[in-house]
């Protein structure tokens, strides 16, 4: 098991390096240089040009490209992400204030959609051809077809503007109030964000479960005279679970992308909201850094998925 994790980690590192290289390339090709990325913009103006030049040299800007990349990379690893062009705020600080909101939202949506999706998909498969199955399949199809931001708008109209049950948007900051007071703000964005993923997981769980139920070992299990629930859950569902977890991992980028749109709809103060603002303002250092971090998040998520599948599936754990 540990060797398995290490082996997976080793395949991720080259990918992270290649992408960080591309991101640095993007930084070099877009306006601004390393100095303007590393010094607060209002500081640059007050510095005399000679000192600025010295600083540029000390930062290695006269050096070859690969050396500059190396200096930048070691800085990033130590948490020096540079400065945002607009406002001159350190990017690390933006991450610190914005990341918790995005994590809260996406983890809530991930938990909702994984659980609801697998359960509904399993029910759908077990009642194949019935009214329940048809209803679930149709709702699932609607879920992957209606734009999530449109669902968000309709939800705001109904639950916030008309019924006034839930706030229109925004998020209470930690410390403002108790955990329970913050729930109403989270409910709508998390549910709306989870809809598309729930539908996707459900459709996949259904076909995965049907596939598992058609396998010979399910017939063997039934031939042992065990009750149907045990056959379906311990033999069907358990085996259907591995591909579903792989799919959830595979869909995580979509979920992370979804936060960008949903945060905008509900004015949720997360990274996604910041990303849109930085794209609009062509604040390249911030755009690149957020993109880099989203990739690292995806890579880490895929590592977690790999570990999870190894834990639940002995074929992966003990294979090759």
């Amino acid at each position: 098991m540990p060797t398995y994790i290490i082996r997976r980690l080793l395949t991720l590192v080259p990918m992270a390096i290649v992408i960080s290289f591309l991101v640095y390339l993007g930084l070099e090709l877009t306006p601004g240089d390393a100095v303007s990325h590393m010094i607060p913009p209002d500081g640059i103006g007050s510095m005399d040009p000679e000192r600025l030049q010295m600083l540029r040299e000390s930062l290695g800007l006269g050096q070859p490209f690969l050396v500059r990349y190396w200096i930048w990379l070691t800085g990033v690893v130590q948490g020096e992400f540079g400065y945002s062009l607009s406002g001159g705020v350190p990017i690390a600080q933006i991450f610190l204030t914005r990341l918790p909101a995005t994590l809260e939202l996406s983890i809530a949506a991930l938990v909702i959609s994984s659980i609801a999706g697998s359960i509904l998909g399993t029910i759908s498969a077990l009642t194949r051809g019935s009214k329940t199955d048809q209803a679930l399949t149709t709702v699932g199809m609607l879920g992957v077809s209606i734009p999530e931001f449109f669902i968000g708008l309709v939800a705001i109209l109904i639950f916030s503007l008309n019924l006034q049950w839930l706030p229109v948007g925004g998020r209470l900051m930690p410390g403002d109030d108790s955990f329970w007071d913050r729930i109403p703000n989270l409910v709508m964005p998390a549910l709306v964000l989870s809809i598309m993923m729930t539908a996707g997981v459900m459709r996949y769980a259904r076909s995965s479960m049907l596939d598992a139920l058609s396998k010979d070992f399910v017939r063997t299990a039934r031939s042992k005279g065990m009750p149907e629930w045990r056959v379906n859950l311990l033999h069907g569902f358990r085996v259907a679970l591995t591909p579903v977890i792989v799919l959830i991992g595979f869909r995580l980028p979509v979920l992370i992308g979804g936060t960008v749109v949903i945060e905008q709809v509900f004015q949720w103060p997360g990274i996604g909201n910041e990303f849109i603002a930085s794209v609009r303002a062509q604040d390249y250092p911030l755009v690149m850094m957020i993109a880099l971090f989203s990739v690292i998040a995806v890579l880490l998520a895929s590592l977690i998925v790999d570990i999870l599948t190894a834990v639940i599936d002995p074929r992966v754990r003990l294979g090759d």
Partner: protein
């Protein structure tokens, strides 16, 4: 002799039993004739949802293409005397904040949105299939390189990569299609490659090779047709995805420039809570249109998958 009484399980299957009786009667009466159509069409046309999807899909495409015949309004013509009017005989879907006819905008917007979605999906398929088939069948350094490049592209959450490229390349219709193609070819490439890798081991390919046919001819002429099913499914599914993405980007104001009517750009107005609350006709019809169109494409995709997948029965 103790004979177990038939218990509830038997009765619960009575609906199924009735169905079995029907099939059996028909079979015994010899009414089951040889199918005239091929297996593919037979399965596809038996899937009512897929057929309904095809009808809606065709309908929306036709009304978009023939928009000038269906409405006399210019989708961009500002008319300040008739702002935010509710639907009427004159303006079927009402007018927006600058007095533009919403019905005309939905029709003309469909042209651009469908062009972006379908166009990008087809471009992705062309690039992905050509490289995928080459590298799946012949392999070599191009295979290695294309695989690594697609891995890099797929490591990004797609919308973040798209927005990143938008911020560099700028907003325009052509740029958007280029960006969608760049970020979307990886999936279909991998699919085509995997299909080729498995087809390569099949006997008929070995036989063709022993006849001395060139690799390009075998790959593109004899193997490609056998991979068409999954490719078609992939095109429909990526069309749906791209239309949703265009809508999301335009909704954020970062897709096609706002001056061009697209479905997403029309919905952009609904970010204003006042419009959302008071002028439903500005955003509801177009939202429903997008959803219907994507739904129909997805149903077609599902129907295609079931009809082309030989492993699925029943």
């Amino acid at each position: 002799m103790t004979i177990a009484q038939p218990d509830r399980g038997k009765r619960r299957r009575s609906k199924l039993d009735a169905q079995f009786d029907r099939i059996r009667d028909r079979e015994e009466a010899g009414q089951v004739k040889k199918r005239r159509r091929g297996r593919f069409w037979n399965k596809f046309l038996n899937n009512h949802l897929a057929v309904a999807g095809l009808v809606v899909f065709t309908f929306i495409i036709l009304v978009s293409v023939f928009a000038p015949l269906l409405t006399s309004y210019d989708p961009r013509a500002v008319d300040l005397r008739s702002m935010t009017q509710a639907p009427s005989l004159e303006h079927w879907f009402g007018t927006d904040r600058t007095g533009r006819d919403v019905f005309a905008r939905v029709l003309y917007g469909g042209r651009i949105s469908i062009l972006v979605g379908l166009g990008s999906a087809i471009l992705c398929a062309i690039i992905g299939v050509i490289i995928g088939i080459y590298s799946g069948y012949i392999g070599g350094w191009l295979d290695w390189f294309a695989m690594r490049v697609s891995e890099v592209f797929m490591a990004f959450p797609q919308i973040i990569l798209v927005l990143l490229l938008v911020s560099i390349l700028g907003q325009s219709l052509a740029n958007l299609m280029i960006i969608f193609t760049l970020t979307g070819w990886g999936g279909i490439y991998r699919m085509a490659r995997a299909r080729m890798l498995s087809l390569r081991e099949e006997e008929y390919v070995q036989a063709l090779r022993s006849f001395g046919l060139g690799p390009a001819r075998i790959a593109y002429k004899h193997m490609l047709p056998n991979a068409l099913g999954p490719i078609m499914v992939n095109i429909t599914l990526s069309t749906a995805a791209f239309i949703l993405q265009e809508a999301a980007l335009s909704f954020l104001g970062l897709g096609v420039p706002l001056s061009v009517p697209t479905w997403g750009n029309i919905l952009n107005a609904a970010q204003d809570l006042r419009i959302l609350e008071n002028y439903w006709w500005i955003w509801l019809p177009v939202g429903v249109t997008i959803s219907l169109f994507v739904l129909s494409v997805n149903f077609i995709g599902d129907g295609l998958r079931d009809a082309t997948d030989p492993s699925q029965q029943g």
